[in-house]
């Protein structure tokens, strides 16, 4: 495990998040505003994406506006917004924490933990799922155990995880690992179940060996499901984060949220929630981006 952790360590270094795919091409025509022709051609080509981006921005803006109106007027109609912090209050606490480097350290450490835990889960769960899908005996052995462990929530793992691993960092990574492991495994398995048996028989008829069938038939046809699993797994990894970072007692965006809870500071709690949301969104976008690169045939 230690060795494996070290292996992925260098990968964990770059904490920067790739900008969402929709905005990066938008930057290019801006650098050459004189070329109107090019711009209009680009617009015509990417109309769908520009539209999605604009609608997305408007919808987010509306969300903020509704949130603002509900909380500023302290509305209460069965659902009560009386004590829910307003966007301005959350922004104020963002500017407050943004001034010291500690908050960035929280974010950096959380990203690192998510990345290592998730990468380990992907490295273990994808091959295991493939093997389970191909060989019934392996599936019959592993499936009951994984189905039994899967419903156990991350927070319940906290005490066991502390006892299992020699350092707290490993305990935390273990919990994020568990969070993403099961969705990836199940989706891979599901993908293997969806492989068209006709294709497999055809490959066999053409004399393909087991390894070749795996490489050329099973793996590519289950890739879309694997990537669904990876996206879902990434989301669950963030869900597990608060539970996991209760252990650390010092750093991480989950810990930041937890500490705000123990001091009953509602704006900081909301800030932590939003941060986790944004980081989760960004990391899922990265996975989807990789998915598009790996599966060019899947692009519309």
């Amino acid at each position: 495990m230690d060795a494996a952790l070290k292996l992925v360590e260098p990968l964990a270094q770059p904490p920067e998040v790739e900008p969402p795919a929709a905005t990066s091409p938008a930057a290019r025509p801006m650098s050459a505003p004189h070329d109107l022709n090019k711009l209009s051609r680009w617009l015509a080509l990417n109309r769908g994406r520009v539209r999605a981006f604009l609608i997305g921005a408007v919808s987010l803006g509306l969300f903020l506006l509704v949130w603002h109106l509900l909380t500023v007027n302290r509305l209460s109609f069965h659902v009560r917004f009386v004590n829910v912090p307003s966007p301005a209050m959350v922004f104020a606490s963002l500017t407050k924490v943004g001034q010291d480097a500690k908050f960035l350290a929280h974010v950096y450490l959380s990203l690192r933990r998510i990345f290592i835990g998730f990468a380990l889960a992907a490295v273990v769960a994808v091959p295991l799922g493939l093997v389970m899908g191909r060989f019934r005996l392996v599936r019959e052995i592993v499936f009951p155990v994984s189905e039994f462990l899967r419903p156990i929530p991350a927070i319940a793992w906290v005490p066991m995880s502390i006892m299992l691993w020699p350092t707290n960092e490993e305990s935390i990574i273990f919990i994020t690992f568990l969070g993403s492991f099961f969705p990836i495994l199940l989706n891979t398995l599901h993908g293997m179940g969806m492989v068209d048996p006709v294709l497999v028989r055809a490959a066999q008829c053409l004399g393909a060996r087991e390894a070749a069938i795996f490489r050329e038939v099973y793996f590519p046809s289950s890739l879309p499901h694997i990537f669904t699993g990876l996206t879902v797994g990434m989301g669950v990894a963030w869900v597990s984060l608060i539970a996991a970072e209760m252990i650390s007692g010092q750093f991480g965006i989950g810990y930041f949220t937890w500490e705000a809870y123990s001091l009953v500071q509602y704006p900081d709690i909301a800030l932590g929630m939003i941060c986790i949301g944004v980081l989760g969104l960004a990391s899922s976008a990265v996975i989807r981006g990789i998915g598009r690169m790996v599966m060019p045939w899947g692009r519309k």
């Binding site: 009560r80 009386v82 004590n83 005490p159 350092t167 009953v264």
Partner: protein, 471 residues
């Protein structure tokens, strides 16, 4: 589903009543946030719930003739979730330690619907005992300064956090003297057991519970900060203004719970173990005679002064802005409850007395003269016997054991600080006169005493041997 329906119906019925349009029976739901595992709140929560004491005192006549009360008890392991529930108006009553109480009062300052008021005290220790710092039993740390630069965890925002900050302030230590991290009791306990942290500071009952469970040793007791600590009850003002009689009834139930515990501490401790999972021997060290917590609902000026100091600590940390403790305290309900029960509030307010170990020492054959020099032995299945001194306690322990009795636990008192200790965790200064055995919590206190009186320091087993050979 049906509860929600009942609540909705209750709300409708209440609305009707308030315009005087209905004489139908109304349902008032009262939410109470307890901390079952925090042993010094059990007389305000767990016992009241289990013995149905609140129901007993709820008003039934006058404007309450057509009111049906529904009690909703919610249990938490710390104060902040209780505050959260109270903010959401799911809970009207809540109980917690001094620091969470202040955070509670401060948080409600910005709530336009309601504020909270401190209406009664569950239990207190005038010197700050109850909070403590424990280390792993095999670790080389014996006093606070041994932990310099070490990893110490404490639940932030708790009474124990306050104790740590006060201890550091008293000694003039910088903020980075320890590597202080925030961990909940659950997480901190497991981490300490696995030795991932060097020490864990916590509130009642963990500083006694973890040593009792056999893997930890207490090296600092809150008593050394000399700042009172307490747990209390807060109520939402919108509820209290509407139903003041209910608040008074709640305090009457609390008084009854205190009396019930003191009437038979052994039985009560066994019940608490059954209800909360905290070992009876641990509950007894806090709430039993001469215990480390005094159950007393009166709001003493000493405690509100301490709360004001706590508020300053939180302000200095930048966790809180202005907060007026005086305005937040409201003793009118507890005064009414005392008056209606024909009890003397002002007399009790001045008294700092706990109930003490008393009776006849059957081993040394003499009555107990100085309760804070005495001791007790809990024989499994038989009961708790008092003894007049530490030497008599250890002697009795050995003789009971020789008779083949199973001993649950033995208690002695710290010679310097008067706090109750588990006998097997204490250090003993034994002089040339072996009948004088002085127990201490801290090794350094025992060593200082032994040096002054020409004795030596022994662990529990050796002290028992010394007690027999001397007797």
């Amino acid at each position: 589903m049906s509860r929600n329906l009942a609540r909705a119906l209750g709300a409708v019925a209440l609305a009707l009543l308030s315009v005087g349009a209905s004489r139908a029976q109304t349902v008032v739901t009262i939410g109470i946030g307890t901390q079952d595992t925090t042993t010094n709140t059990v007389t305000a929560g767990t016992i009241v719930r289990q013995l149905h004491l609140f129901e007993k005192y709820l008003p039934t006549d006058g404007k309450y003739a057509n009111v049906k009360f529904e009690l909703e008890w919610n249990n938490f392991t710390s104060g902040p979730p209780v505050t959260n529930g109270m903010m959401a108006n799911k809970l009207q009553f809540g109980m917690m330690g001094d620091y969470p109480l202040i955070v509670n009062g401060f948080t409600f300052q910005s709530n336009p619907e309601s504020k909270t008021r401190l209406i009664a005290v569950a239990a207190y220790n005038r010197f700050g005992s109850g909070n403590g710092i424990v280390v792993h039993k095999d670790s080389p740390y014996f006093e606070l300064s041994d932990l310099k630069g070490k990893l110490v965890s404490v639940p932030f925002g708790s009474a124990a956090h306050g104790m740590v900050l006060k201890a550091m302030q008293d000694r003039g230590w910088p903020a980075d003297y320890f590597q202080l991290v925030s961990q909940t009791p659950e997480v901190g306990s497991t981490n300490l057991q696995e030795r991932k942290i060097d020490a864990h500071a916590d509130f009642v009952p963990f500083a006694e519970l973890l040593p009792f469970r056999g893997f930890a040793r207490k090296i600092f007791d809150g008593v050394e900060t000399n700042l009172p600590t307490f747990h209390g009850v807060v109520v939402r003002t919108d509820f209290a203004e509407k139903y003041p009689e209910v608040v008074v009834a709640y305090i009457k139930a609390l008084i009854a719970a205190n009396e019930w515990y003191r009437a038979d501490p052994k039985l009560a401790s066994e019940k608490i173990e059954q209800w909360t999972g905290i070992n009876k021997e641990v509950a007894y060290i806090f709430l039993g005679p001469g215990g480390n917590m005094t159950t007393d609902p009166t709001i003493k000026p000493m405690l509100t002064d301490a709360a004001a100091q706590d508020a300053k600590v939180l302000q200095n940390l930048g966790r809180m802005k202005e907060f007026d403790v005086g305005k937040w305290v409201d003793d009118s309900f507890v005064r009414t409850a005392f008056a209606e029960q024909k009890l003397d509030y002002d007399g009790q307010l001045k008294s700092l007395a706990n109930y003490e170990v008393a009776g006849e020492d059957t081993f040394c054959k003499k009555p107990i003269a100085d309760p804070r020099a005495a001791g007790e032995v809990w024989v499994d299945g038989e009961g708790i016997a008092p003894f007049s001194s530490a030497a008599c306690t250890l002697g009795a322990y050995s003789s009971l054991k020789a008779k083949g009795k199973k001993i649950n636990v033995a208690y002695v008192f710290d010679t310097a600080r008067g706090i109750k200790l588990f006998a097997d965790q204490a250090y003993y200064a034994v002089g040339s006169d072996k009948t004088a055995i002085a127990p201490f919590l801290l090794k350094k206190d025992a060593e200082a005493y032994a040096a002054k009186n020409g004795g030596r320091v022994l662990g529990f087993e050796d002290a028992v041997k010394a007690a027999i050979s001397g007797g």
